[in-house]
């Protein structure tokens, strides 16, 4: 190409990112071609910025500047630190799948226990399988988003989990992403297939090991849910305070499915979760909920697109943001109702709690309705803590911060209580409590 070399916000050539990583990216020549194409898309688009409608409130050019080079595969010392982090963040009773700096860590994972219940492979091994001509498809999505293209180009590993039809998982699967490196990027992509009539709980956890800082995470999760399945999906992003996390979910929901999704953002300097959920089978119920807890100068963006492609589905979204200091929370919720999707019942409610005068909340609900017999709606509020409630608590002996904490917990409780499992809910409340302790 005869174009001038594209540069990052910090003056480095964008193409270096891919060129320097290419030797380490798994895949047959066919996969490599898909990667190259994806990178060209990224190179053409560059980091998303505010003139891209979907990224209007999360200008990565301004907030992040450039994508850091690919993290090195973890060495023994890194894996040791990761092991400590796993201990600290593992959910009791859950079966762990651990990715360290973008590489699957079998020794830290419960491979054996899981293999008896589910099909389990790594993305790396599937991509590298020369006998599989369709491997490149694992890197394709329908999206034209720059960050998703970048993920396709750079993904080093991920897990491929398949739950057979009518399997009732005996324990939650916890996918733990651990960063041990500073100043580098990890790109992961995982595929989860939940069979018809199956029952599964999947938790994603994003954390730093030890003092890992200034790193970037770009993750994609492709989740396919068969008819009549019952799925709880929880994502807990608690990355280092100066990290960047951009995650994309592609969820396809069959008929008569119950899907309960919950996301909580308590970490990272800049983060975005973009979830694209398609209700593709009739009679399904989606409950999609989230909490952003942000302080200092953190920027947290939760963007959910719920696509009612067929009739007779219900979707409910409850979102809460607690924003302190000069932090900035973004919630974009789009409900699409396709022309055929009659009797759709889709509602979202979002509330922001501003704990400081400089805290900022952007809230963009969108209803795109192409069917006429539907019931859809959204509501949004933003405000400060109620002084009269604060005073009541203080008059009963609670110091200011503790009174605030109690009211904040009550506020986010409205979203957290949507998690049905007691132990998981307690785990989530524990993370929220630690966030509250960081405030004081």
């Amino acid at each position: 190409m005869n174009l001038a070399v594209a540069k990052t916000g910090k003056g480095r050539a964008v193409s270096d990112l891919f060129a320097s990583a290419e030797g380490r990216l798994p895949g047959s020549p066919g996969v490599a071609a898909v990667r190259r194409e994806a990178f060209e898309t990224y190179e053409r688009l560059g980091l998303p910025h505010r003139r891209i409608e979907e990224w209007k409130y999360t200008d990565l050019r301004a907030l992040v500047g450039e994508v850091l080079p690919l993290a090195a595969a973890p060495d023994a010392a890194a894996l040791k630190r990761a092991a400590d982090a796993v201990k600290a963040h593992a959910i009791e009773g859950a079966r762990k799948l651990v990715l360290v700096d973008g590489v699957f860590a079998a020794d830290l994972s419960d491979v054996k226990a899981l293999s008896s219940e589910v099909g389990l492979k790594t993305l790396r091994e599937v991509l590298a399988d020369k006998a599989n001509p369709a491997a490149g498809d694992l890197l394709r999505t329908t999206s034209t988003d720059a960050m998703i293209s970048l993920n396709a180009a750079m993904a080093t590993d991920g897990v491929m989990v398949s739950v057979a039809d009518r399997t009732q998982l005996s324990a939650p699967i916890q996918l733990i992403h651990i960063a041990t490196a500073a100043g580098a990027s990890a790109f992961t992509r995982s595929h989860l297939r939940i069979g018809k009539g199956a029952r599964a709980t999947v938790v994603e956890t994003f954390v730093a090991a030890g003092k890992a800082s200034g790193y970037q995470v770009n993750d994609a999760l492709i989740l396919w849910i068969g008819d009549d399945a019952d799925v709880a999906h929880i994502r807990l992003m608690d990355d280092a305070p100066d990290a960047v996390n951009v995650s994309s979910h592609f969820v396809t929901v069959g008929a008569a499915v119950k899907l309960n999704f919950f996301n909580m953002t308590t970490g990272a300097a800049v983060s975005r979760l973009q979830g694209f959920i398609t209700l593709a089978g009739e009679g399904s119920e989606l409950s999609a909920n989230g909490v952003n807890l942000l302080q200092k100068t953190e920027h947290g963006d939760t963007t959910l697109v719920v696509d009612h492609a067929v009739p007779n589905c219900v979707s409910r979204e409850t979102f809460r943001a607690v924003i302190d200091d000069r932090a900035h929370s973004v919630f974009q919720g789009r409900i699409i109702v396709r022309p055929d999707a009659q009797k759709t019942d889709g509602k979202m409610m979002t509330r922001a709690l501003l704990l400081s005068d400089e805290a900022e909340a952007d809230n963009k609900p969108e209803l795109e309705i192409f069917a006429d017999d539907v019931s859809c709606g959204h509501g949004a509020t933003a405000g400060a803590l109620d002084d009269s409630l604060l005073f009541y608590l203080k008059a009963r002996g609670l110091p200011e911060k503790q009174a605030q904490a109690l009211l904040i917990q009550a506020f986010v409780g409205e979203a957290i209580e949507q998690i049905a499992d007691d132990a998981l809910r307690e785990h989530v409340i524990g993370i929220a409590e630690r966030w509250l302790e960081r405030r004081s």
Partner: protein, 249 residues
């Protein structure tokens, strides 16, 4: 010994003076009643003692056990033993009453350097007190005052008072909204807390409450001042003649 000394207190709300030099002394072991027409400043006084923001004290002082109360934050006052049973208790959705009670009690104990209550000890204590006040246990699982009837809210205030064992209890119209049975139960609860070390200030419009909680001293407040003080018979006198005689005071 004087527990509470309010001296020539002047208070403004939004540039308007509400209390115009109010003086009141309450000794340990005493029960004082404050009566007075609507808008005379009774709740304002109770709020200033409890430390509610939005009131500007322009003159005078409030001493509690000899210490300057106005220098303390509301939670410090609570830990030192000041308790206000609110005229209008707020509802706090999402904060279970039980959680609230325990958090508050332990916060007060911590501030006083006392050890926190263990869960069984705490539960036992709450059960005892709520039983004596006829408060069903499932009410305590709900959000603080959420969906409580007017009377239940008032009983919840008395429950907290019994649990926290403050040395100064200010009851702002505890009787409003209570039916006769509930009034008797609540009053019994208050009477059970009477002790030589504890004082009470009972704000009410009705002499009836004072049949149950018999005061040592009755004060009449009008237009931001205490205009008359006397023995319990003063309440009966007021009931007969109204506040007109004090309007020009």
């Amino acid at each position: 010994m004087a527990l509470l000394e309010v001296k020539d207190l002047k208070v403004r709300v939004e540039e308007r003076e509400i209390l115009h030099g109010l003086t009141l002394t309450v000794n340990e072991g005493e029960v004082h009643a404050i009566m007075g027409p609507n808008g005379s400043g009774k709740s304002t006084l109770s709020h200033v003692i409890a430390g509610k923001p939005g009131y500007e004290v322009t003159d005078g002082q409030i001493l509690f056990k000899g210490e300057d109360l106005l220098e303390m934050s509301p939670d410090e006052r609570a830990a030192k033993g000041v308790f206000l049973a609110f005229q209008y208790p707020v509802e706090i959705p999402g904060v279970a009453t039980m959680t609230f009670l325990r958090t508050a009690l332990n916060a007060q104990r911590k501030a006083r350097g006392e050890s926190e209550y263990s869960t069984p000890d705490f539960l036992k204590k709450v059960r005892e007190v709520s039983k004596s006040l006829n408060i069903p246990q499932d009410m305590l699982k709900r959000g603080v005052n959420v969906g409580f009837s007017g009377g239940e809210k008032k009983r919840n205030e008395v429950l907290q008072m019994a649990l926290f064992e403050p040395s100064l209890c200010i009851l702002d119209e505890m009787d409003s909204g209570l039916d006769i049975d509930a009034l008797r139960i609540a009053a019994d609860g208050v009477n059970a807390l009477r002790s030589p070390k504890r004082a009470m200030v009972v704000i009410t419009h009705y002499q009836r409450l004072l049949n149950y909680i018999v005061p040592d001293v009755v004060h009449v407040m009008s237009k931001g001042r205490v205009v008359k003080s006397g023995a319990k018979d003063l309440a009966l006198e007021l009931e007969a003649s109204g506040y007109a005689q004090f309007e020009d005071a």
